[in-house]
């Protein structure tokens, strides 16, 4: 009940969140010098209503009361305060008045003007040429109650510690931590680990199961030879080494090398493999990526660079095969086992992000798709029908990687 009565006694028209300093200095500005509140009482009201305010100082603003320009603006303001009127319509137009407001430093001006049964309240600080908060409170003969009312309505907010003169000066001359010129050239080198697999996440498994479930019998027989994943393991970890540069923080180029060791998918039910100790292929990818990126300085010690990359790669397979130590002459099928092409050519596309800490130490996350295939621009030969089919004509997989980088800027 008390709360309702108290709430109806005051109304805030707008409040654009002025800074309330701890140990604030509040100047009470009235047009006729007859302040409806007492400065000292108001200070006590502030302390009662806002425990964080420390030791405020309050006094009447005689300089403005006696000043013609200020009085004209004050009477104009009192005349123009209306509910629903945006603050910019209350802007100071006279340059002399604007200068007075600018010279307030971090003191707060509390404008009070009686209007009928109410008292208009406007609050100014140095940051704006218009009131920061405007409202009305119910007029009250009891000055202490009125002070409490104003303090509770407009000054009941979190306070900030006021900076000392030296701190203010230091703040003004301090460089902006996030200010940074885009370097002409950003160079990095990194080492990473990753994982690639033929099956794309979130796609039906039957899209790739014919490749992933395939097994090689008799050293050379599979259902299909269109993808390398019919022959060798289709999900494996890889190691990568790479180095790149971005030009003007926007466009870049990167050279990379990846290595993974892939086991052959031998069909263990085939007895011919009993002679075999191991059979695997080292996969070497060498590629070149073009990058598009944009750097966002998040904190002074972290820059985030989302990037998009598109590139091509060459893939070589180095075979490692060994029959068991007791086997002197391997089987005939061993001699005529499958051979991969000398080189496969493919493309890479993907997105990623570089997180660079302290300007030098980068963490790199990437995800993308890569392909390997035969050079498609080969002219068809007349005996194409008789030629053996190319193994791994169209091989696609996806990958994720995590890299650790060192960055330089030029």
């Amino acid at each position: 009940m008390v709360l309702v009565a108290w709430a109806s006694a005051a109304e805030v028209y707008f409040d654009s969140r002025f800074t309330l300093w701890k140990d604030a200095t509040v100047y009470i500005w009235t047009l006729d010098g007859n302040s409806p509140i007492n400065a000292n009482e108001f200070c006590l009201s502030l302390r009662r209503n806002n425990t964080g305010i420390g030791e405020p100082k309050c006094r009447e603003l005689g300089e403005w009361e006696r000043d013609t320009i200020a009085t004209r603006y004050g009477s104009w303001l009192s005349n123009n305060i209306e509910k629903g009127l945006p603050s910019n319509y209350l802007r100071v137009r006279h340059p002399g008045m604007a200068a007075k407001i600018q010279a307030l430093e971090d003191n707060i001006v509390l404008f009070l003007a009686p209007q009928g049964k109410f008292i208009q309240v406007a609050i100014f600080d140095e940051t704006a040429q218009e009131p920061k908060a405007v409202g009305i409170v119910k007029a009250n003969k009891d000055r202490i109650a009125l002070s409490d009312d104003i303090a509770a309505t407009f000054f009941n907010k979190r306070t900030k510690r006021r900076l000392t003169k030296e701190e203010r000066l230091k703040m003004q001359t301090e460089p902006d931590d996030l200010y940074k010129e885009v370097p002409n050239l950003n160079i990095w080198a990194g080492i990473g680990i990753g994982y690639s697999q033929a099956h794309f996440p979130l796609t039906p498994s039957n899209w790739t199961s014919s490749h992933t479930k395939s097994r090689v019998r008799n050293y050379r027989i599979t259902k299909d030879s269109v993808s390398l994943w019919n022959f060798i393991e289709d999900d494996d970890a890889f190691l990568s080494l790479y180095a790149g540069l971005t030009w003007h923080g926007f466009i870049g180029i990167e050279i990379m090398y990846r290595y993974s060791n892939r086991d052959m998918k031998t069909d263990n039910s085939d007895t011919i493999y009993q002679e075999l100790d191991h059979w695997n292929f080292g996969q070497h990818d060498i590629g070149l990526n073009a990058l598009l990126s944009m750097t966002y300085p998040i904190t002074p010690w972290l820059d985030i660079t989302p990037l998009f990359f598109l590139g091509f790669q060459y893939t070589f397979y180095a075979e490692d095969i060994e029959p068991k130590s007791g086997v002197k002459t391997p089987s005939r099928a061993y001699q005529y086992r499958i051979k991969f092409e000398d080189v496969y050519k493919g493309a890479l596309v993907g997105i990623g992000g570089q997180f660079v800490f302290k300007k030098h130490y980068g963490l790199d996350l990437r995800a993308g798709i890569s392909s390997r295939g035969r050079d498609i621009y080969e002219a068809p030969s007349p005996d194409a029908g008789a030629a053996p089919t190319t193994i791994g004509r169209s091989t696609i997989d996806c990958f994720v990687s995590l890299g650790f980088e060192y960055h330089w800027t030029l």
Binding site: W76, N79, N80, G84, L85, R93
Partner: protein
């Protein structure tokens, strides 16, 4: 059928072009502008607002010597303006220009790119007439430019003001471009501001045509003042 289509297309093209040309806001109302002045108004600025460009062209047609076209032509415009305003508002108070021009010149924003420049009274100071009473509404006429084939965006869009006009050719229209503010003299705030443009096709140009131009202008001001009211 194709004819119909082409007409339709032309219609669209005109709509789009007209839409683009009119994307400016040429008026601005104060949120507290709820009632247009009726019955009485004061005007100021009319002594110096009128400017006639292309003096030679007007001098020849209005049969006034080139030397005195500015003085006589603008005097005529001012008289007609006053007469028309008096007809429209009955109780018309004409304040001398100096009542308002003693205040510094300021800019009033109508649109992102449109700014009116003009003198407006200081906050807290009311304009008074010769007997010392305070008229509630004052129409401040900032500028009234009369010329041929003028476009208001060339004058008021700050991105275009440095464009040079094309070569002088045979004009199609006599144009008037005028900016004004309805001033709330009691609360010292601009209730309504606008830049208007009138194009008057030329057949033969006589003094009566100039009179007519001013009459149209006054009608347009009154119409805009009424339309600018925020309900």
């Amino acid at each position: 059928m194709t004819f119909k289509k082409s007409i339709l297309f032309l219609g669209f093209a005109i709509c789009i072009l007209a839409g683009c040309a009119d994307s400016y806001h040429w008026t601005a109302s104060h949120p507290s502008y709820h009632k247009a002045p009726y019955g009485g108004i004061a005007v100021t600025g009319i002594e110096n607002a009128f400017v006639i460009t292309r003096s030679n062209w007007f001098a020849k047609r209005l049969e006034i010597s080139t030397d005195s076209i500015q003085i006589k032509g603008t005097q005529h415009c001012r008289n007609i303006f006053e007469t028309e305003m008096r007809k429209a508002y009955g109780n018309l108070i004409v304040l001398p220009d100096t009542a308002n021009t003693k205040f510094p010149e300021e800019s009033l924003k109508l649109d992102e790119r449109i700014f009116i420049k003009g003198h407006i009274p200081e906050q807290g100071i009311t304009l008074k007439d010769s007997v010392g009473s305070v008229p509630p509404f004052v129409l401040i006429l900032h500028e009234f430019i009369i010329g041929t084939d003028l476009k208001r965006e060339i004058f008021f869009d700050y991105a275009l003001v440095h464009n040079e006009s094309g070569s002088i050719r045979k004009p199609d229209n006599v144009s008037a471009i005028f900016s004004y503010t309805l001033w709330d003299n009691l609360k010292q705030r601009p209730l309504f501001s606008a830049v208007d443009e009138i194009q008057q096709p030329i057949t033969t140009y006589k003094l009566s045509n100039l009179t007519n131009l001013i009459q149209i202008a006054v009608q347009k001001i009154r119409k805009n003042l009424a339309e600018g009211v925020l309900k």
